[in-house]
Amino acid sequence: MIEAKYPVREKKNYLNAEHGLMSWLLTKDHKRIAILYLYAVTFFFVIGGLFAALIRLELATPAGDLLDSNTYNKVFTMHGVIMIFFFLIPSIPAILGNFLIPLMIGAKDLAFPRINLISWYIYMVGGLIGTFVVCTGGVDTGWTFYTPFSSSYSNGYVVLTALAAFINGFSSILTGLNFIVTVHRMRAPGLTWFRLPLFVWAHYATSAVMILGTPVIAVTLFLLMLERGLHIGFFDPAYGGDPVLFQHLFWFYSHPAVYIMILPSMGVISEVISTFSSKKPFGYTFIAFSSVAIAVFGFLVWGHHLFVSSQSAYAGMVFSVLSYIVAIPSAVKIFNWLATMYKGNIRLETPMLYAIGFMGLFTIGGLTGLFLAAMGMDVHLTDTYFVVAHFHYVMVGGAVTGYLAGLHFWWPKMTGRMYPQGWSKVSAIMVFTGFNLTFFPQFLLGYMGMPRRYHVYPPEFAVLNVLSSAGASLLGIGFLIPGIYFIWSLKYGKLAGANPWGATGLEWQTASPPPTENFAITPVVTHEAYDYSTVVHEEEVVHVG
């Protein structure tokens, strides 16, 4: 048996304040709820990842030799549904947002702790239904549920899957509602809006998108369930409906949804780059407002998913120009982060490695979005692997990389433990390399004309597909390793002090892990955000007795 290298921490914190399963399942502590989400979200990430592995295994050869067509179609559908609704949308807000926002603003908890707990239960119900669907035969409509295939032709569990996503949406809405009220009303004395960490700004903007967009997908899925159950013709021309109306309603939420997935990640990157450059973010105000601009403009571009759907060319023009406009604030962020690094004191710790990776990968992802925003270019590229590559660059290279950066950055705060640095840096590099190898060839495949959601493909696409599948193996391992060392660190990791990274922010001024009430006395903020001259860099503290 390996003995713990350091004496066991005795100081009371939120983890050891109460014991027993019920103290967790009935908790009102935002930090414990964040941990509950961490377990659940990680579970779904693993399931979604297994489906991804199956996809890449099948696509390593042109023929359909691993799975039959129906199974393959279910696999890619479930991969999308699980990754989007059960992993990406909740990940940073429900885990890091829930844990950190009250700490960052000097509050004891979120505005509505019981609603926070209910949101986790709602997520679990949606997740259970989704898991049930996976185990009993799945659904094969694609995560986009286009009608009339989903309403009248599919043989899968369309209604149940739609129900799972529908229920899950309410978890999202409640989380967003909680964040908005909290940021408005529970900031510590002296903490004005423009002294808030950029992570908070990012989550505020995200919450606005969550509360305004999610109800629309809820009602769309509700109509889809009615149609499938009762054969009413909202969206099926055979019953008098319009399939393109479904697409409009669906994308009205699902496009802003991608900003729900990326904005929190950008908030993480702002914090990480600032900390590991020991410098206030350059253009703080611009970064803050760019989050708001992305949230607003993000609601106005959904029609760029419909350029070839028979949407009018004039409507298309409006959506195209707005899609370019929504890209500009993201570019502004990238340049401001670069300027933050300029003449800073840069330390290449693991979170910083992920943040740097984010900058490269999100840049490519964002720029390839510009290809798709050009209508004439989109006609050739839409529904091909170019789109698949684009969205994986922004969602995995962007959102997931930011999520990993955040996990690695705040892990010592959340658990009081540090993870092994060597392994963490190695896996960061593996993720970056594996990711590029997996998805860059897909841009080329897309321009060549390989459509997406194809189970079998012509042999001339084979070489690029093999490269992609090889990269996926590396990426998978890169994701697996942190799972191992994070768990390892809980028992054997070095004990972390209150501020091991030398970061600014109120969360670093309380113990690691924090006590249940977060702060012994409510802090009073007297200086501007990111004031590195006042930081106390507390690497590690060992408490005995």
Binding site: T220, F222, I232, Y239
Partner: protein, 235 residues
């Protein structure tokens, strides 16, 4: 200790009803208010999708929609509208009574609101039953017939109107049923003297919710019952 005494004691206690993570009552009240308004905003978006679908299909199939709309009962709809507006009035009076610390008046007005809400739901149930009898419920048993009993011209889009009718009024009714349940709880709590003039936030917040449900109906009624009343119905 009787309820009146309890209420008076709570009047003096500025921490009464204050949850531990809030600094003071004002912060808690603000948080609840912003929270409820934000929630109502999400409800607008929720109903909005249905309204959008209604507007688009009405634009495309005006004849079918007009004919089907004539089949709703104008007088029952108008009566329901009046009932619901009155219930908003009684709810507002209830909030006022709570602010003045008048327990009996509060309970009275909440009960009146409950009764009016109950009348609304009862009329709705009657309308739905009527539609069931006339085979106007979308689905397998839907039959579309004109005055002479012949199949109507555009069955699919007539059925679509009724789908939207049931979807929108059904969603509205389910919001009312939830409100009904919460109102019952509030009545019991008010009777027990839980609310003081210093703290009666749940009453106020519920009032906001109830008014919102009323406003949704005020939009639903003209759209579903009043438009294109040309006198030519389906039956």
């Amino acid at each position: 200790m009787d309820n009146e005494t309890l209420m008076l004691e709570h009047e003096q206690d500025e921490h009464y009803g204050l949850q531990h993570h809030f600094e003071n009552q004002e912060q808690q009240k603000d948080a609840s208010t912003i929270g409820m308004w934000t929630f109502l905003l999400t409800e607008i978006m929720f109903f909005g999708g249905l309204f959008l679908a209604y507007f688009i299909y009405r634009q495309w199939y005006p004849a079918a929609f007009a004919a089907a709309s004539n089949n709703t009962d104008l007088w029952l709809g108008a009566a329901n509208t009046t009932v619901l507006i009155c219930s908003s009035l009684t709810m507002a009076m209830g909030v006022h009574a709570a602010a003045l610390g008048k327990r009996t008046m509060l309970v009275l007005f909440l009960v009146l609101t409950l009764m009016l809400g109950g009348i609304f739901l009862g009329v709705k149930a009657y309308e739905y039953h009527d539609k069931w009898v006339k085979h106007e419920i979308p689905g397998a048993h839907f039959e579309c017939r004109d005055e002479k009993g012949a199949p109507c011209a555009d069955e699919q889009h007539t059925q679509l109107f009724f789908s939207l009718y049931f979807g929108m009024t059904g969603l509205h009714a389910s919001h009312m049923i939830i409100g009904f349940g919460i109102l019952l709880v509030l009545i019991v709590q008010s009777w027990q003297g839980k609310f003081t003039s210093g703290w009666h936030t749940p009453i106020e917040m519920f009032g906001l919710y109830w008014h919102f449900v009323d406003i949704v109906w005020i939009f639903l009624f003209p759209l579903l019952y009043l438009i294109d009343r040309s006198g030519r119905g389906l039956h």
